[in-house]
């Protein structure tokens, strides 16, 4: 019997997608293993949605190949194994939510009775069980998005691709979706595309960074954080600290240097991060300065886009 637990969930070889002369994706080589959620990031037009669409089989590659769970995208063997929250896809506004989701479940092999139970389960997960008999046109944008996430959870998919799952969702429901991904990630591998880097940093174990259709980097969040070894701390503050914070903190014995990022955070380069953490916290307490968060390493946003 084949052990699929360590087999790649996604394999891309020299994958490219061109629209006329424009290269939406260019020569992507990528092998992703099952496990913690994978972040897919990059600026607008980087090729995130194109990559997601290729993985789902919505579009065909111009060159190269893709394999999802060992099969070509669009293959019938992927039914129930791969699911997705596609960007801008809508359910039929004329038919009620329950009816459409039950139909999806039936296509995944559930009997009519099982399908109804399964749909109630996934709607429960996104807090919208009462929407079974509601038409999508009667729901808010956020609720429609949650319904779309619910359809992606029908059955026991091994790989779920979520394109901007929390875009347009209010904070409590965005948190609920993150919790849902965390909860399911022991049995399902998620790939999550988002512009919310804080969210991805907290949620994902590895990150794929695309820019102008090219794969710039791929690795675990921690591996990618090259500052961990050199002991950098990031201090996030609510209100700006007085100017003398940098001077005073640089006088601490365990601190090498302090700089301020464009985002307003302080990057503290240390000789010893543990001692420096204690010393910085003492300095903040003595001066009655408030702070939000002190963390090891640089934030994902700072690593990708910071210039300090």
């Amino acid at each position: 019997m084949r052990d699929d637990s360590a087999a790649p969930v996604i394999e891309c070889q020299s994958l490219a997608k061109h629209y006329g002369g424009a290269k939406a994706l260019d020569n992507i080589d990528l092998t992703l293993l099952p496990g913690e959620p994978i972040a897919l990031i990059g600026p607008n037009g980087a090729g995130k949605t194109t990559l997601m669409s290729l993985l789902c089989g919505y579009i065909k590659p111009s060159a190269g190949s893709v394999k999802i769970l060992g099969h070509a995208p669009g293959s019938t063997q992927l039914s129930g194994q791969l699911s997705a929250l596609p960007q801008d896809a809508l359910l039929d506004p004329r038919l009620n939510v329950g009816r459409q989701l039950i139909f999806f479940a039936r296509l995944q092999g559930f009997s009519s009775a099982q399908a109804k139970v399964e749909v109630q389960r996934v709607l429960d997960k996104v807090g919208l069980r009462e929407s079974m008999t509601t038409r999508p046109s009667e729901l808010s944008h956020g609720m429609r998005k949650r319904i779309a996430i619910a359809q992606a959870l029908i059955g026991s998919p091994r790989l779920v691709l979520l394109d901007e799952p929390t875009a347009g969702i209010d904070p409590p429901n965005a948190k609920m979706i993150r919790d849902l991904v965390r909860e399911q990630s022991s049995s399902t591998t998620f790939m999550v595309s988002s512009h919310n880097l804080d969210e991805l940093e907290r949620l994902c174990g590895s990150v794929i960074y695309l820019e102008q259709g090219r794969l710039i980097s791929y690795g675990s969040i921690d591996e990618d954080n090259g500052d961990l070894d050199s002991s950098v701390l990031t201090l996030r503050v609510g209100n700006d600290l007085p100017d003398n914070f940098i001077t005073l903190s640089e006088q601490l014995p365990s601190v090498k240097s302090v700089s301020k990022t464009a985002q307003g955070d302080f990057l503290i380069h240390t000789h010893n991060d543990l001692q420096a953490s204690i010393a910085v916290l003492q300095l903040l307490a003595e001066n009655n300065w408030n702070y939000r968060q002190l963390s090891r390493g640089r934030s994902l946003e700072e690593r990708l886009y910071g210039n300090s």
Binding site: S53, C56, G57, Y58, I59, K60, G74, S75, T76, L78, S79, G80, L82, S83, A84, P86, D88, A89, L90, L91, D92, P93, R94, L95, R99, F103, F104, R106, L107, Q108, Q151
Partner: protein, 267 residues
């Protein structure tokens, strides 16, 4: 089997949407009008014309001599009316097999669970079931009228029912297949209908040119879907099936082209 689940959903979709129910209600009203003010008086006229010998003079001239060969005059008129009306109805009702689902993105949800070909053929089959129901319902209404007039004619008419059903389904298949193909490239039902009309006009012009240029190539006159219908007016009962290969070939060709596009098109 996923194709059957998709086909079943296509049928149920008709009864689950306001637009579908309004269309059904509208069709029932129109059919009642056709039956009461069209088929019944025409059948009476046919009986009278046959008795007076007028039918022998008029009907061959307008190419529908076979009306006299059916076991009941209502059935004869039904055959004529259904051959004229149902292809247009099939074109209209089956226009949105995949078009709006693609434009809206709903197909993206479906292709995660079934193949593109299963969706394509499932929707086609569903539309075929819908038209089969239309044929059955309209035929039953005509049989009721025949039964009210003469029990003897009804028993004879019932023997012709299988031939009519099989034949009308075969006749309607290429029209549904045409809309399945056009729906793959259109963004809405309306656009699909417009594409079908444009395609039809262009194909007719091209065929007229080709038939006038190459008059010896007889196959050309059978190239358009529905081209055999005018000849079906001359036939009755099981004889009508002699022309069945033509619509079946049309259906096969249109479905092959549609499936080819469906498989390759971006969603």
């Amino acid at each position: 089997m996923k194709v059957l689940i998709l086909a079943q959903d296509e049928v149920l979709r008709l009864f689950s949407t306001r637009r579908g129910l309004i269309s059904l209600f509208g069709f029932c009203l129109i059919w009642m009008g056709v039956l009461v003010y069209g088929i019944v008086p025409a059948a009476r006229f046919l009986v009278g014309a046959t008795e007076s010998g007028l039918a022998d003079v008029i009907l061959p001239r307008i190419g529908i001599q076979a009306l006299q060969l059916w076991p009941a005059p209502e059935l004869a008129v039904y055959w004529f009316v259904s051959l004229s009306l149902l292809p247009a109805l099939a074109l209209l009702t089956s226009a949105d097999q995949t078009a709006s689902d693609r434009a809206r993105g709903t197909l993206r949800y479906l292709v995660m669970r079934s193949s593109r070909l299963e969706i394509f053929f499932g929707r086609f089959l569903g539309q075929l079931f819908i038209m089969m129901s239309v044929v059955l319902a309209t035929l039953v209404s005509v049989l009721i009228v025949i039964g009210l007039n003469s029990a003897e004619q009804l028993s004879q008419a019932l023997l012709s029912v299988p031939a009519i059903i099989v034949n009308l389904i075969v006749v309607l298949s290429p029209f549904i297949a045409l809309m399945a193909m056009v729906s793959v490239v259109a963004k809405s039902a309306r656009q699909a209908t417009i594409f079908a009309v444009i395609l039809w006009i262009l194909a007719s012009v091209l065929l007229n040119f080709l038939t006038s240029t190459f008059p010896d190539v007889l196959m050309l006159q059978w190239s358009l879907p529905g081209s055999q219908i005018r000849d079906l007016y001359w036939l009755s009962e099981w004889d009508t099936l002699t022309l069945a290969p033509i619509p079946l070939i049309h259906t096969l060709v249109l479905l092959t082209v549609g499936a080819f596009i469906m498989k390759r098109r971006d969603l």
